[in-house]
Symmetry: C2
Subunit: 428 residues, 2 copies
């Protein structure tokens, strides 16, 4: 048995720093858990002269990735640089050199992870990625291991901390999106270019990863319909609250006999739902499965500590596998090939807000259009906005998305309707 | 590689039935995940003629435990009969016969599991018990694997569904304990003899298991101070609500430089705490650790489906280990030997409710006694109960338990105090 297992790290940013620090601080306990000391041999960074948040022994820092990828003493490589390339090539090279790999790189994994998973499995190597979704929340392992005996019918997550912070703050303070976004940027919760977060792309990658594992089917992130939160207004948050809901950006995967419905969009969620009280930068993933029923996993979805915890958990798992000669024991589980179903056939409830002129029979004409498309209304709330304008907020019963789209199209052209202000799906 | 892995089951009650059913229903997917078919060879029950909730092929049911324990073709034994003996002896015999074992038996595990864990580890066998705490919630694996790089400082769980159902219902409906208990018994959520649940013994076993793993130290359940929920009244629930809290039965483990504080008792929990909105028969376990921060795991804490899911997850893990030749890769992690600290040195906040006569200076005399014992008050709420009696409800600042006990002792003897009606710890 090895006395020492040597690790190489690519990247010493937020996650790399958190991983290295936790490994240093808990080294003795980790050695006892693994049965061998886990030692960082090399950390490759772009600029070795830059000040770092962690201290490393002399000679560990390097600006040559080959010092990590090609060193035969290194058994485990942690890729923590992000982005699709060169991360993907580095990981493939590490695997080809017989090293197991840990990554927290959601974008690379969702877009180009499959060949890495297959290569690792075929070569009895581990390729783990717990930190790619939900930061420190152990959702990937739970899906692959503890819940492996279940048939999962729904997985639904608040997987982006930035948007959850913004929506929570809008709900709590009655503030506008733009105002809260600027504040989030000032606190460092949102990036200078917030596109990937607020338009839902970050959630799209994570949802692709979750759905792939939950449904044992490869899910291409590019095929996942995505809507961000930029169109959610203060008014919608307030109306949702009045109706007993909160608005969350959800990554959703559902599986039925016809196939998979995977999507990312804001949704009204009843206040009693376990995800509804997940606020600020916290993430949570809700799983509905047979026979376990409903389970939920909650924690910080990003940052040096949480994601470092996940990466370190993966390192420890690989080291245990090395000690017991079992790397590659848990490979790719995408043995199904279930089709992704299109959004137009989705059946769900909707929240609709229309701005109309305050005229007689306006409501009747709206209800009539909905009726023409088989959309039936659960509740209607009419509120004056000015002397001759009213907001009409409706919740519908379950209806087919295609019908809803058609109805809104017709409604938008009615002379009494000034505009379809918003339409947000309601999630059970 | 084996094409087929044969399983033996002891007991076909609620959990056994759930496990077998899920294994049958998801057999194809499980075979793909494991790399071999998982087949139930024998199920030992006391009475083979009794009607069962699952169908088994002829010859599988037996009333001889040796058909399971001594069959060389059986690689994995699931002990689902409960109780300390003969469960412990059966498991030891299975291990001695070279079989890996799954159990959901919290009482046996907490009281007498250590030698089994050691024997399994020394003989490269798996002994897994995810179903012993929190039903289908994958908390054991999360602690042992994904969170293994963390230093856990606090673990706190709602781990008993019966008491959580009772407390949730008391809070929601303003009902009395006795009334709700009877209703819970009628629905089958509480047993005819509810002692183990309402007095906290069930939570005591589970807390011992959680604390042992979280702090890598063997924790003897008999050493865990336990208080049940029988003294929590409707009035306390209502006052807690007014003060911004909810009352939950918590299993708590904390670790600091001096040692461990492990205990089970009802506690006031601020409504914003993630555990506070866990209601009815749901369980949840909250973990505070460095570097992950706060994480929480939520789900149904008991029943055929949830616990069956956990047992099946363990079976699948063992089967994967068999396929990759790595059984025993994850053994006992109690390599520390941290002392359990006594309750009298606990520092926490308290909720105190006194019934007093409505006389001048009553409050002054009470405050004076608290002051004598260095207990300072955060808030005081005085409510008339009848023409000459008042309820005085106080929240204290953090204080040493020994001082609180002494203060209450003196207060109870004041001529103006009719009684110390309740004293409940407040948990941060």
């Amino acid at each position: 048995m090895k006395d020492e297992i040597q690790i190489g790290v690519l990247g010493l940013g937020v996650v790399g720093g958190g991983t290295v620090l936790a490994l240093q601080q808990n080294a003795d306990a980790i050695a006892k858990k693994v049965g061998a000391r886990v030692v960082i041999k090399k950390v490759a960074v772009r600029d070795v002269s830059r000040a770092r948040s962690v201290e490393l022994p002399p000679g560990v820092l390097t600006d040559r990735v080959e010092d990590v990828l090609d060193d035969p003493d290194i058994d485990v490589v942690c890729e923590l640089i992000g982005g699709v390339e060169p991360a993907h090539s580095y990981i493939m090279r590490a695997l080809q050199n017989g090293k197991s790999v840990v990554t927290a790189n959601k974008e690379m994994l969702a877009k180009a992870g499959h060949d890495l998973l297959e290569f690792a499995e075929n070569n009895h190597l581990d390729f783990l990625f717990e930190g790619s979704v939900g930061g420190g929340i152990p959702i990937i392992h739970a899906l692959k291991q503890s819940l492996a005996g279940n048939r999962i019918t729904q997985i639904m997550g608040i997987v982006n901390g930035t948007t959850n912070y913004i929506l929570s703050k809008m709900a709590r303070e009655g503030a506008d999106f733009d105002v809260v976004l600027k504040e989030a940027q000032a606190y460092g919760y949102a990036e200078a270019d917030p596109t990937s977060d607020v338009e839902g792309f970050d959630a799209q990658y994570k949802t692709a990863i979750l759905a792939s594992i939950a449904f044992s089917s490869q899910v291409d992130p590019a095929q996942i319909p995505v809507e961000g939160i930029t169109k959610v207004t203060r008014k919608d948050m307030q109306m949702a609250d009045v109706l007993g809901y909160t608005v969350k950006l959800l990554g959703i995967g559902q599986c039925d006999n016809e196939g998979l419905r995977v999507r990312v969009h804001p949704a009204l969620l009843a206040k009693g739902h376990p995800l509804a009280s997940v606020n600020d930068v916290y993430n949570a993933i809700f799983v509905r499965a047979d026979p376990v029923g409903d389970v939920m996993f909650y924690g910080r979805g990003a940052g040096s500590g949480p994601t470092g915890s996940a990466v370190l958990g993966d390192i420890i798992e690989i080291c245990r596998n090395i000690v017991s000669g079992a790397t590659g024991r848990l490979g790719c589980t995408c043995f199904n090939n279930q089709p992704l179903l299109c959004m137009s056939s989705l059946v769900t409830k909707y929240y609709v807000r229309l701005l109309t002129y305050d005229r007689p029979k306006v409501l009747a004409s709206i209800a009539s259009v909905f009726g023409d498309f088989d959309v039936s209304l659960e509740s209607v709330d009419q509120r004056p906005q000015s002397s001759d304008r009213v907001d009409i907020v409706m919740l519908t019963h379950r209806t087919i998305e295609q019908n809803m789209v058609s109805a809104l199209d017709v409604l938008g052209k009615l002379p009494t309707v000034i505009g379809v202000e918003n339409c947000i799906r309601v999630q059970d």
